[in-house]
Assembly symmetry: C2
């Protein structure tokens, strides 16, 4: 069988199946599993890129029935039951799990793809880190003539990534860069979060939303609610009301859509291009094909669409694996039941909101402790956990963000 | 005053002067101090790039008389006592320490700059790591038609970098990649070290040289001595005797010359373009200008040219700082006296050669323990030391090299 994608969904599907009597080809375009909930830490110099990446082959090195394939899927032939890779390889399957994840969508807003920084991949995080640090270096190189907006970071989107980035960037600037650039007027730097709706953290409770808003504003973040973006330009953003914010660093965290791979599958698509699936997460008319995680439009217990969250991906991947195992054993499949383990977002040092099942809500340092624990547990690889723990302890005790290294272009010249 | 370069020489000069009543502008083209003795570990996936890089501004954050300038020096006006940076900034100085380090030289061998991988900078190490890992992925993508030389790594130069790379690459391939690619015939991979002279590790004792040779050969490295390179091509190397070795990965560790910045200074140059200096390390005719580290041709106690080593750079930087302090106090300068603390090179897991003053020589695991201790002590930044220690302990206990992550192009698209 073939699993497409080594993110939360595909990795967990493969892990849940590798003790079964199946041969699995696990395809990903990267050679690592990225722990994306901590990507914003790489972008803000709290962690190094390697800390949140674990080589996929290392995870399955002792599993001889798992063959890891590095490549991009360019075709899925449902009739021939074949997956085509960009380098020409053809993978036959009896069962297929499509777990290709999501990619950035500009929602049709002009200028986003040209001028804004996406934040979905490891190179994108390193690029953003380079860019922010270089902006401060440029400002310091000629302190008498700092261009308008050079030290202004605009975060487009008030979801978890936007909120976490806003908190982390304001801390990076307010503590580390203020010390690093003693001759620069760092107080002139702005962190602006613009959100189209009138609430941060859609999906959280009003109390958590208020907590996030208050915490960010206390950190000096300018939060603009009910402020949809009209366009992004080379010199900043223009809001729907016509007002402009000069900025050399616009981070686009607002738009997520299904990986374009979804378009290789037939049938209708749900919101954001996600694949419509049946109750057991298989493709309508193709019981041998499952779509899970961010690429799929799974439904919750009362039919509501499930959000694109790590927990949905993990549980979806495991569910698909169990259905494949059931069918191999000649048993019927079961519908997917999502178990809500809660949602959480950190808003910087010692502050987070966590909403657990049963109405338990944690805030402030309790929420932060819960956030730390959960993220360490789910990070793949003991070494990664240890190094991330060391880095976090270091950052926490010293207020340092030690990875503020401008790692230049690593491509072959 | 101005210090050019934040490597071992410039960093130590600045650290030794920052308690004196001077204002120091410290210039580097990168925003970090790189711990280059461990660069080969980044290239071979043992450490992440951030682990050996420490932000320069962090080192001097509480030193208000040190101003860190990110930029490339494009001019030195000795008469006006000015240093010109690429972004147009002009730095005036009363004293100048030039510690610009070294850069790669192709020794005029055709094809080196086009086809070989240099290994002097952090992006170069990441690029080489990407390239080696990608070669194995390419071979695995079509195992029936592995191009000739795809899995052959040729190391040009049998100095410490070549020897350390040969040991580390053979371990990376023989342990980790052999497990990562169970369906690939990894035994067909070759690591070839070509050295023009008839000895590895020139400058070490014959006994250490033999030890290095035996250890590498026991690891399966093909060591070719007395084998000067004629040229490097897109498909491999051609030796002076006309024989060819097919290779997609030629690593050039043989050639080092003074940073081209040396050419901005007047006067004759010594071997490899290094700046000729007087006994106190100042420029002839310019007692206010010092040149130290790899960029300079300092002489040892009996007039012999000192090698381009970290210890020479560290001691040279500190010496220049003391001479500036002496002149500020109206005292005469003193000649530089190099204290030989020994030389060492690791040849892989649990094996190294170390030659300490007084004739003490350590080999095997004793040499390796000494190498570990010395490198941890000299690594800048407690966090870096801790993370490197965790990574090393992990690599050692598990035989893992956890950073085998292909980090794609991080430049702005």
């Amino acid at each position: 069988m073939v699993v497409v994608g080594a993110g939360f969904a595909g990795l967990n599907a493969t892990l849940a199946l590798c003790d079964e009597p199946v041969d699995i080809a696990l395809v990903d375009r990267d050679n690592y599993h990225g722990f994306w909930p901590l990507l914003y830490q790489v972008a803000t110099a709290g962690l190094g890129p390697d800390d949140i990446a674990h080589p996929v082959r290392a995870i399955f090195a002792d599993r001889h029935n798992v063959s890891v394939r590095l490549g991009t899927v360019v075709g899925i032939e449902l009739d021939e039951r074949q997956v085509l890779l960009d380098h020409g390889e053809v993978l036959d399957y009896d069962y297929l799990v499509v777990a290709a994840g999501s990619s950035t969508s500009d929602f049709g807003i002009p200028g986003v793809s040209e001028h804004a920084f996406p934040l979905k991949t490891l190179p994108e995080a390193v690029r953003l880190r380079n860019h922010i640090l270089t902006a401060f270096e440029r400002a310091d190189a000629d302190r008498a003539a700092v261009p308008d907006g050079l030290l202004t970071v605009v975060l487009a989107g008030g979801g978890p990534t936007g909120v976490e980035m806003a908190g982390a960037i304001s801390e990076l600037i307010g503590t580390n860069l203020a010390l690093d650039f003693p001759h620069l007027d760092v107080t002139s730097a702005r962190v602006v979060l613009v959100e189209a709706t009138d609430r941060l953290l859609g999906g959280f409770s009003p109390r958590s939303q208020d907590e996030a808003l208050e915490t960010l504003r206390a950190k000096g973040v300018e939060v603009l609610l009910g402020a949809p973006l009209a366009r992004v330009t080379a010199s900043g953003v223009v809001l729907a009301d016509g007002s402009e914010i000069a900025s050399h660093t616009v981070v686009w965290t607002a738009g997520v859509r299904a990986n374009p791979l979804a378009d290789l599958l037939p049938g209708e698509k749900a919101r954001n291009g996600t694949v419509v699936v049946t109750a057991d997460l298989s493709l309508p008319g193709h019981p041998e094909v499952f779509a899970v995680g961010d690429v799929a439009a799974a439904a919750g217990r009362s039919g509501e669409p499930l959000p694109q969250l790590a927990q949905v991906a993990i549980q979806g991947g495991r569910h698909a694996a169990r259905q494949v195992a059931a069918r191999l054993a000649g048993k019927p499949t079961r519908p997917f039941r999502y178990h809500d383990h809660g949602i959480m977002a950190t808003i910087g040092r010692q502050s987070a909101v966590a909403e657990l099942p049963g109405g338990l809500k944690l805030r402030g340092s309790m929420g932060w402790a819960a956030w730390l624990a959960v993220h360490l547990v789910f990070l793949v690889g003991f070494r990664n956990r240890l190094v991330v723990l060391v880095n976090w302890a270091w950052n926490y005790l010293t207020w340092d963000r030690a990875s503020r290294v401008i790692l230049e272009d690593t491509s072959r010249p």
